[in-house]
């Protein structure tokens, strides 16, 4: 991974990203040493529980961290833009960064209700990036917004464009925010838990829609979620985050079949499987849960952040943060003992 040249189809290439939060008594590191790449037409899922730093990572890429509090302290975020040029977003001026947002990168947020402005019509909000980035006039932008609504599967798009967010259902609203993110044909789509606030049936529709749109447009997609089921459905590759670092990354099928980090193993083991519930109940077994809690940003362990909760931990685990080890060319894990553990559990 380290020696990788920027491949021709790489859209997003994050290297050594460290984001800190300023507090009264100093700085807290929210995410550290993040490396990730997303290629055109590829979906990378960023998985982790609340507070693992997945949303901070996506907001860092957009440089939308709360001003004066969140700050990128180190690293590069290289983005291949629509004109073919590659820019390091970390070093762009705020002016230039504003041109990237909504034009080269589209973003879909978690809450479709609160992420749409209640006092402007859907059509107005979707046409806004088109007016800003393409300089389109009101009429042309509105026509474009209507056809975007059509393409995200909203029936009666002309009427819907004239409506306000509260007049649409949750699923409709999320379709509208997707249309908004896609308005300028971005090279990268960042979806920050786009289905978390939706019904399960609507979730499936939205995921299918995102997949379809990605295939049609050949976009790169960075998909942030805590739901492993969603990862399996939508992503090509996955990066598992724990306490601000990527602990394991690789192709979804391989990571799910052969997890090489105890945290990933724990996550997968704590997922209920269809048909097992009744058997487990009969056997008097409970669903597995990882013991303990995620360490807070204030008291991060010196060594491996997962060590206090890890059943495989040995003395040397708490000495230094482990580096990423190559399991193979595509699969890395941040565990000192990954080889021994695989032998222990007989894989």
């Amino acid at each position: 991974m380290d020696t990788m040249q920027q491949a021709p189809d790489t859209i997003l290439d994050v290297k050594g990203l460290r984001t800190v939060f300023r507090i009264r008594s100093g700085e807290l590191t929210a995410v550290n040493a993040i490396d990730l790449t997303v290629g055109a037409g590829e979906t990378l899922a960023l998985v982790g529980e609340s507070g693992s730093g997945k949303s901070v990572t996506s907001l860092s890429v957009m440089r939308l961290l709360t001003r004066n509090i969140g700050m990128i302290a180190a690293g590069t975020v290289r983005l291949k833009r629509k004109n073919g040029a590659v820019s390091d977003l970390v070093s762009l001026s705020e002016r230039e960064m504003r041109r990237v947002r909504g034009d080269d990168i589209g973003m879909v947020f978690q809450e479709p209700m609160s992420s749409l402005n209640p006092v402007y019509t859907i059509g107005d909000q979707i046409s806004e990036p088109i007016r800003i980035h393409r300089g389109a006039d009101r009429k042309a932008a509105m026509d474009a917004a209507v056809s975007l609504l059509d393409s995200v599967g909203i029936p009666d798009a002309v009427r819907r464009a004239g409506q306000y967010p509260h007049e649409l259902s949750g699923g409709m609203r999320q379709r509208a925010t997707i249309a908004m993110a896609l308005a300028c044909d971005p090279t990268l789509l960042i979806a920050d838990e786009p289905t978390t606030a939706l019904d399960v049936t609507i979730q499936a529709q939205i995921l299918a829609l995102l997949q379809k749109l990605q295939r049609e447009r050949g976009m790169a997609m960075l998909f942030v979620t805590h739901n492993l089921g969603v990862v399996a459905q939508i992503a090509h590759r996955v990066a598992v985050m724990y306490a601000g670092r990527i602990v394991e990354t690789g192709p979804v099928a391989e990571v799910f079949r052969n997890p090489r980090h105890p945290y990933t193993m724990g996550l997968l083991a704590s997922m209920p499987k269809i048909g097992e519930a009744s058997r487990m109940k009969q056997a008097g077994k409970k669903l597995y849960a990882i013991p303990g809690m995620v360490p807070g940003l204030m008291n991060m362990p010196k060594g491996c952040a997962f060590e206090p909760r890890c059943q495989f931990a040995k003395q040397n685990c708490c000495e230094a943060v482990p580096p990423l080890f190559d399991v193979n060319r595509h699969h890395q894990t941040r565990c000192n003992r990954w080889r021994e553990i695989s032998d222990e559990i007989g894989q």
Binding site: M62, R101, E111, S115, P118, V119, H133, Y164, H166, M180
Partner: protein, 319 residues
């Protein structure tokens, strides 16, 4: 929308009717007798003359009958005659004074809305900066100083000490009417009347804006690449205005109380001065008439506020 407006107007008329009853009864509950106002204390009057006068004026009838008699005339536009100046119908007296008051209050309201919203916005965006702190200091001072105090301090500072502005009146006597002269007289009372309301609007605007700036849709706007200026003035402002509009509507009634003080201090020939004179002279018809007209204005402004609210917030269903 039309139906909604009509319904609101109808309710407003009902409120006005209730208000008129209230004033009528309250005026009669105050010590003293309206008949006193008609009597010249220097001319002796026998008790039988008094009874006769009472009878001709209808003051011996029961209170509800008196009220109905007044109401019957009032709906036809006759609010009676001033006791002090019997040749002056109340309505024309009130109308001759309404212009200056509307001018004074209107200017004060416009000043306070513009200054309050702008400074509140700046305070929220530049939170905890020197600008924010100085605005907040102004607001605390403005909210906590009663109009009679701020009026006197302002009068002393700008008219007496610096001698920049006239100390009273609406126009310079003996000079031809000119807008400049009017503005010169208007600026001090209007600004002083606006102080308290500006401070109030500013505080509301600041907290409302701070709340809105943390909303997801503001982040969405930034994620679309909207210029920061438009993020604030388009996406955030309109949402932040919603609670402030209600506040503005409901404080206009309060501002009228302030206007009465300011008019007295600055000798501004408006409704406030008329009312103060009428109360001093026990001029019942004038008190009734001017209170009613002011009440009607407050009710009307509140209706306008509700309509403005419905225009700004599409979630409010009207009709």
């Amino acid at each position: 929308m039309l139906q909604y407006s009509l319904r609101r107007l109808l309710i407003g008329a009902g409120m006005l009717l209730a208000l008129s009853m209230l004033i009528f009864v309250m005026l009669r509950l105050t010590p003293g007798d309206p008949i006193d106002a008609y009597i010249d204390p220097n001319v002796p009057m026998s008790p039988s003359d008094l009874v006769e006068l009472r009878d001709t004026l209808g003051l011996d009838a029961p209170l509800p009958v008196q009220y109905l008699a007044w109401l019957q005339q009032a709906v036809m536009g006759n609010l009676g005659y001033s006791i002090k100046r019997p040749d002056q119908p109340v309505l024309s007296l009130v109308f001759s004074r309404i212009g200056p008051t509307v001018l004074l209050m209107g200017s004060a309201i416009v000043i306070s809305i513009i200054a309050g919203i702008a400074s509140g916005m700046i305070s929220a965006v530049r939170r905890n900066s020197v600008v924010d702190l100085s605005f907040s200091l102004f607001a605390v001072t403005g909210i906590s100083s009663p109009p009679f105090l701020s009026a006197l301090v302002g009068l002393y500072l700008f008219s007496v000490y610096f001698d920049w502005l006239p100390s009273g009146g609406m126009l310079t006597p003996g000079r031809d009417f000119s807008i400049a002269d009017l503005l010169h007289h208007l600026i001090l009372p209007a600004a002083l009347l606006a102080v308290a309301q500006t401070a109030l609007i500013m505080r509301y605007m600041r907290s409302s804006m701070l709340e809105v700036l943390n909303q997801d849709y503001v982040r969405t706007a930034r994620a679309k690449g909207v210029y920061e200026f438009w993020v604030i003035t388009k996406h955030a402002l309109r949402n932040a205005l919603l609670p402030v509009v209600t506040l503005i509507g409901s404080t206009i009634g309060l501002a009228i109380g302030g206007a009465i003080f300011i008019e007295s201090v600055f000798n501004w020939p408006g409704m406030g001065l008329l009312m103060v004179d009428a109360v001093e002279n026990r001029d019942y018809p004038v008190i009734m008439g001017s209170t009613l007209v002011i009440g009607a204005c407050v009710i009307f402004v509140n209706i306008l506020t509700d309509l403005a609210y419905a225009v700004i917030d599409p979630r409010i269903k009207v009709g």
